[in-house]
């Protein structure tokens, strides 16, 4: 009773005091970000602990007893500002403050943290809160904190997103590559791989990323070809005064360590290949097949970055930034490799693959801030990534081939020696301009943003060597009287393969925003892109004179060499001639039996899109934002092809012109200051890619995949209806809970299915009338321990997605056909469950030591890789991934970073489901744990 009385008394006195106080309030804005509100800036009364942080909208409020004070505004990396203020009892004093990035000595602090507001997690959350569309971003700071070294890792930290281990496929809500788009600074990025629509996000290391965002809901400015989302990479924007840093690192893969690595003959350690200038036939004759020593499997990376800003007298500022990096890695995979549709066509219980990959990035950007209202940005990027892979299939002599000639029970063996190099060039110029009606207006009357980009891709698969051998078990015994022999069912069982793709794209965007009033803003925009692809390949096969040519599998060149090559008819004692599909004209029937040829397959794809849109931002009050929009898009797509083994009555091309009218609506309702309810509806489309329509078949060791030009017949596209409903609650700084429900209807969906021919080729078909996706996403980010400055010390986040997908299936006819033994199935690529979680620990109590430790877990459940026709589906089994990253800043200049990735080292497994029976494993391997240690020095 007495305690209560005292408590009441204390409360009362406080109440009395408060009555006598005055209030200081105001908004802090960020000069570096066009005077956007600056959240989490510190505002304190000098010499006291009275004060706090600005909120999401940059606002602060301080109560203080009447008197004269000095108010101190500070923010990491920004100039600290002191302002005198007089507080009067019961009155409110307004002090608005603009803060600018600091110069001089303190600038180093900026560099050390590599932090400007836009890449801060908290700032991006703010952006997400303010955004008129459903969009999630992850910035450089968060990437660093979560130990993410590239954009691919970044997107998987976003809810509903999963990535396939071991390749670049990203899935957003179960919809894969063909339903995604990737842009940089709002301009289309090319794919580095003929088999993909989207560029491999692994190529974007964290030092060229400002932030990565995924828009899962459509808005008018996106190309109409949108179903799952748009990944946008905002490239690095350096705004500090100067910086220079160097880092080196090294690492090892637990499964690669200790292996004797091999690689293609003729390729360089830096991922380049010097023989593109030579005719493939000359390369076949000049160079052998056997792989060469691949060096010790020690991963390494090197990176150098420099930036400098120049301030000019007219207050304009030019910031230059460049970075160059090289990274190499080794991976060793061992496990079964099987081709099974209804029977074991090929089965290798033991296969092993050695992969050496490199990644070279050169990135430069120039940011020219003419004044507060006009900004230009030029970005240039060169990427080279290479993969040097040697695979031995059936290396224990237990391989089987159903169509083997000498022995169908054992001893079938293949070796595949393959080098891929992708060179990507991206050049972009973008601009932002603001026009004010009157000086001093808060909101510009007109805002103009524009960009133009020019991209080139050169994707090479030069001189892939593949050999097929029977009775390999004889090479493992010590009996010199029995030996392995070449398998020679088809002349291309032993082959050299050459493939080249050249892509070129010009694309542009412009948007004019007219801020008509506080309530209404209108956006008018245009997008255009012109893209072409040229594809060509040629292949040479060794045609052996009999089924009994013996060979030592470790020394193929002892048999396949110039001396044993038959060049002319009637040449005696030769072992093989070299065949090609299309011999050079005039020599088809000649005395020559080994001659160069012309291309085996060629195709040329063209895509032209011109689109204009109009949308409105209607904000009748603080609570509502309504953004209706409509886009009118003209699409012209054409594919011309000259490929082998196609219906001779086929026209050899398909072309289509479509005009899409795509309405959409985004509504945001601010339930409270900290929470929003969002609704989004959009009609979009999904159009086929070049690789899906080019009826060329790529023959892998255990898989054949080809295109189908009928995808451009009527209907030539899928109409997609998207509906999203999202609730988000920004609990406090860096904390968030959101719940989203989504629905998609995809008409005439495209799936990868085994075509109804006798080759087991998987092709793309419009397999039904409609697919439906519905699901829910839950995301939580929570601070478990905060310091006195409200910074998270121990944080925790997770997101969970559940999806239900269904599509109807029907038989299709046309150039190729597919039939099904069922009426419906799940959608290809959709995992019913996706789960991502992370724990971050970043204590701040040490003066010269800033450690950050992070544990990241992700999981996706089983999903369909390819639909079976009259048999079970190919299913990618679920994969859990656990990464640990530990970064340590020691002093101002030095950083020591440790990482341990893929700690669980799960099996990556693909199976063929067999109705009523056990699954057949098609491939299964472990990627190994990657341990890395890196040093960074900042000058």
């Amino acid at each position: 009773m007495r305690k209560i009385l005292i408590l009441a008394l204390i409360s009362f006195t406080q109440f009395i005091f408060a009555q006598n106080k005055g209030t200081i309030t105001g908004t802090v804005t960020d000069k570096e970000m066009s005077n956007e509100p600056l959240p989490f800036a510190n505002v304190f009364i000098k010499g006291t602990s009275i004060g706090g942080n600005t909120d999401m909208d940059g606002k602060y409020t301080i109560s203080a007893a009447p008197g004269n004070y000095t108010l101190v505004f500070s923010f990491v990396g920004y100039q600290t500002v002191e302002k005198p203020v007089k507080v009067e009892a019961g009155k409110t004093t307004i002090i608005n403050q603009v803060m600018a990035a600091s110069g001089g000595e303190q600038l180093k602090e900026v560099q050390i943290n590599a932090t400007v507001s836009k890449d801060k997690e908290t700032a991006l959350l703010l952006e997400q809160k303010k955004a008129t569309v459903i969009k999630e971003s992850i910035g450089a700071q968060e990437l660093a904190k979560k130990g993410v070294s590239d954009a691919a890792g970044a997107v998987t930290k976003i809810s509903g997103v999963s990535k396939e281990e071991g390749n670049s496929n990203v899935y957003v809500r179960g919809l894969g590559d063909r339903y995604l788009n990737t842009t940089m600074n709002g301009l289309t990025l090319p794919s580095n791989n003929v088999n993909k629509k989207n560029i491999d996000l692994n190529l974007f290391s964290s030092n060229i990323i400002q932030s990565v965002s995924i828009s899962k809901a459509y808005a008018s400015e996106f190309y109409g070809d949108f179903a799952a989302g748009n990944v946008n990479i905002t490239s690095k924007e350096f705004t500090g005064k100067e910086m220079f840093e160097v880092s080196v690192g090294s690492g090892v893969n637990s499964r690669a360590a200790g292996q004797n690595f091999v690689k293609s003959e003729g390729t360089g350690q830096f991922g380049f290949y010097g023989r593109y200038g030579s005719n493939p036939f000359a390369r076949v004759l000049s160079h052998g097949i056997d792989p060469v020593d691949g060096g010790a499997p020690i991963d390494a990376n090197f990176e150098i970055s420099a930036g400098r800003s120049f301030n000019f007298e007219d207050n304009s500022k030019l910031s230059l930034y460049a970075t160059a990096s090289f990274e190499r890695g080794f991976e060793y995979r061992e496990g079964p490799a099987v081709d099974f549709i209804t029977v074991f066509k090929k089965s290798f219980p033991n296969s092993k693959e050695y992969q050496y990959s490199t990644k070279t990035t050169v990135f430069g950007t120039a940011l020219y801030k003419i004044n507060d209202n006009n900004k230009l940005k030029y970005t240039s990027m060169f990427l080279n990534n290479s993969s040097d892979e040697v695979g031995y299939y059936g290396f224990k002599g237990l391989g089987e081939n159903r169509d083997a000639i000498l022995n169908t029970d054992e001893g079938f063996y293949q070796m595949n020696v393959q080098f891929n190099q992708d060179l990507v060039f991206v050049n972009q110029l973008t601009g932002d301009h603001k026009f004010y009606e009157n000086d001093g207006d808060k909101t510009p009357e007109l805002e103009v943003t524009w960009g133009i980009g020019y991209n080139n891709v050169f994707a090479h698969e030069p001189d892939r060597r593949r050999v097929s051998i029977e009775n390999y078990q004889f090479s493992l015994d010590n009996d010199p009287t029995t030996n392995a022999t070449f398998y020679n069912n088809n002349v291309f069982d032993n082959q050299r393969y050459f493939q080249r793709i050249i892509d070129e794209e010009l694309n542009s965007r412009v948007q004019i925003t007219y801020n008509a009033s506080d309530v209404l803003a209108l956006n008018f925009g245009y997008n255009g892109r012109i893209k072409t692809r040229d594809f060509e390949n040629i292949r040479y096969g060794y045609n052996f004179v009999s089924n009994n040519i013996e060979v030592d599998p470790n020394n193929i060149d002892s048999v396949i060499n110039l001396e044993n090559t038959q060049f002319f008819q009637n040449q005696q004692n030769k072992l093989f001639n070299i065949e090609v599909f299309n011999k050079i004209p005039g020599y088809a029937d000649s005395n020559f039996v080994s001659l160069p040829g012309t291309n085996e397959n060629e195709y040329n794809g063209q895509l032209r899109i011109h689109a204009s849109y109009v949308s409105a931002n209607i904000t009748p009050n603080d609570k509502w934002t309504i953004v209706p929009g409509v886009r009118l898009e003209y699409l012209d797509q054409r594919i011309d092809y000259d490929v082998i083994n196609i219906n001779p009555n086929d026209a050899g091309f398909r072309k289509v012109k479509e005009v899409f009218l795509l309405p959409n609506l985004n509504v945001k309702y601010s339930v409270t200051d900290d929470s929003n309810l969002r609704l989004s509806y959009a009609k979009t489309v999904s159009v086929p890619e070049f690789k899906e329509v080019a009826p060329f078949v790529y023959e892998d060791v255990t898989e054949r995949i080809g295109g189908n030009s009928d995808l451009l017949n009527d209907p030539s596209f899928s109409a997609v209806h998207n509906l999203d409903l999202k609730y988000e609650w920004f609990m406090s700084r860096g904390e968030l809970v959101s719940l989203t429900g989504f629905y998609k209807q995809i008409n005439d969906p495209v799936n990868l299915v085994i075509a109804n021919d006798a080759t087991g080729t998987q092709r793309y078909f419009r397999t039904g009338d409609q697919a439906e996706v519905f699901g829910a996403e839950l995301e939580v980010r929570k601070a478990l321990i905060k310091n006195e400055d409200d910074q998270t010390q121990l944080g925790f986040g997770f997101n969970f997605t559940y999806m239900h997908t269904q599509q109807d299936l029907k038989s299709t006819t046309g150039l190729f056909t597919a039939t099904f033994n069922r009426d419906s199935d799940e959608l290809q690529g959709a995992s019913p469950y996706i789960f991502n979680a992370n724990i971050d620990y970043s204590p701040t109590q040490f003066e010269n030591f800033k450690p950050i430790a992070n544990l990241v877990f992700s999981y996706f459940s089983d999903r369909i890789y390819a639909l079976g026709s009259g048999t079970g589906n190919i299913v990618q089994k679920g994969v859990p991934t656990l990464d640990f990253v530990w970064k340590n800043e020691i002093g101002k200049h030095f950083e020591v970073n440790f990482s341990a990735k893929n700690l669980l080292d799960p099996a990556i497994e693909r199976v063929r489901e067999i109705p009523g029976s056990d699954d057949v494993t098609l491939s299964k391997y472990n990627r190994g744990i990657n341990l890395g240690l890196g040093l960074k020095y900042k000058f």
Binding site: A588, P596, P648
Partner: protein
């Protein structure tokens, strides 16, 4: 300083070589022999030499006084009939798989030779080799089991991607009588080659009698489903399987003769269904093979005469197998490929067979348990087919 300079050079050189240099030799092809061998070597005569390629959309009869050369995909379209008089030799440009004669669903070929005047399809090359050109492809509307067989749904052919299959067992693709196909089997892609004669869903209204495939790069005769009955067929020196059936083939093969050359695969390779697709029809291949002779290279050469797999059924009568390590090899162990079950139910049986120079008469890899005598009955009086008599005159040996 000098050392540093040299080191710099060394590093630069290392980087250059590390980038992959090009030490590819120049290839110089001395072309001084080609003129002798241009498509048969003869000069062309515009009055008598005719190139065949493209669509044959309306019925035509070839003129026996002219020389025809197939130079590209030649397709007899739906509703058209190609008639070839006895004794004609149709040449095919030796440029590979894209040179073939195909008879589309609804089209017909009438090639009626005689034992003294067979019709010959052969390579136009002076130095012909197996694989010089594609071959004959017949496509019909008879049932196949890769689709359900009761509708007109089709599959597409392994070569040329032409549609086949349907629900008309009595479909008629025309007549092949006293026809010889030589040097066919050009490669179609990295795993497919043309056969000598391919029957895709061909119906039993079609007449196939006295047909030989000589020196083919791939299979001799291949039956992709269908109901066609073939009599007096001979395959010599096929480099893959001499006779191949799959996809629910249910016709009869009467009097068949197979002889292996140096490069070869099986004498007969038989599948119950197309294992690259699925058994959507729910039934298996089950032909009746009567009077069959298969001659191999000797039991010491590790050869195999007949491979039965993927649930195929079939009734074999009067079989002669000579010169093989293994005679019959049965594969297919699971519910989807019940080759062994066919033996147990009597749907796969060899009623009378004689073996000469054969080491293993039956190899059972089906997982089912049965004895050799459950599957085959040796008969000392079995004769195989009398190729010497019916093959006389019109075949090449």
């Amino acid at each position: 300083m000098k050392n540093n300079f040299l080191l710099g050079l060394a590093i630069a050189a290392t980087i250059l070589t590390s980038c992959g240099d090009d030490d590819t030799a120049d290839i110089i092809i001395n072309d001084n022999s080609v003129t002798n061998n241009n498509n048969g070597g003869g000069t062309t005569n515009p009055d008598t030499d005719v190139e065949l390629t493209g669509d044959i959309a309306s019925s035509i009869t070839l003129d026996a006084t002219l020389n025809y050369t197939i130079t590209g995909p030649t397709i007899v379209k739906d509703g058209a009939t190609l008639t070839i008089p006895a004794g004609m030799v149709i040449k095919a440009a030796a440029t590979g798989a894209d040179v073939y004669l195909a008879v589309e669903q609804g089209g017909r070929i009438v090639a009626e030779g005689t034992s003294s005047q067979p019709i010959v399809f052969t390579s136009a090359s002076n130095t012909p080799n197996a694989g010089d050109w594609g071959g004959l492809i017949l496509l019909g509307k008879a049932p196949i089991n890769s689709v359900d067989g009761t509708t007109t749904t089709t599959a597409t052919s392994e070569i040329a991607s032409l549609p086949y299959g349907g629900n008309e067992p009595a479909d008629n693709s025309g007549t092949l009588r006293y026809v010889r196909v030589e040097y066919s089997g050009g490669k179609a892609d990295g795993q497919s080659e043309n056969n000598g004669v391919s029957f895709y869903g061909v119906g039993n209204g079609t007449i196939v009698d006295y047909v030989q495939v000589f020196e083919g790069k791939d299979d001799g005769f291949e039956f992709f489903g269908g109901t066609v009955n073939a009599s007096h067929i001979a395959v010599l020196n096929a480099q893959d399987d001499s006779i191949d059936w799959t996809e629910g083939y249910t016709g009869t093969i009467t009097d068949a003769y197979v002889k292996h050359g140096a490069s070869h695969d099986k004498g007969i390779e038989a599948d119950g269904f197309n294992t690259d697709v699925a058994n959507n029809g729910g039934y298996f291949s089950k032909p009746t093979v009567t009077n069959l002779t298969i001659i191999g290279l000797g039991s010491g050469t590790g050869n195999e005469a007949v491979r039965l797999r993927a649930g195929t059924q079939g009734i074999f009568n009067n079989v002669w197998i000579e010169g093989f390590e293994e005679a019959f090899d049965l594969d297919g162990a699971d519910a989807a490929n019940p080759t062994g079950a066919g033996v147990l139910s009597g749907d796969l049986v060899v009623n009378s067979v004689i073996f000469a120079d054969v080491n293993v008469k039956m190899k059972n890899d089906t997982g089912e348990t049965f004895s050799e005598s459950d599957f085959l009955t040796e008969d000392a009086n079995a004769t195989g087919t009398d190729f010497a008599t019916w093959g006389a005159g019109w075949t090449r040996q």
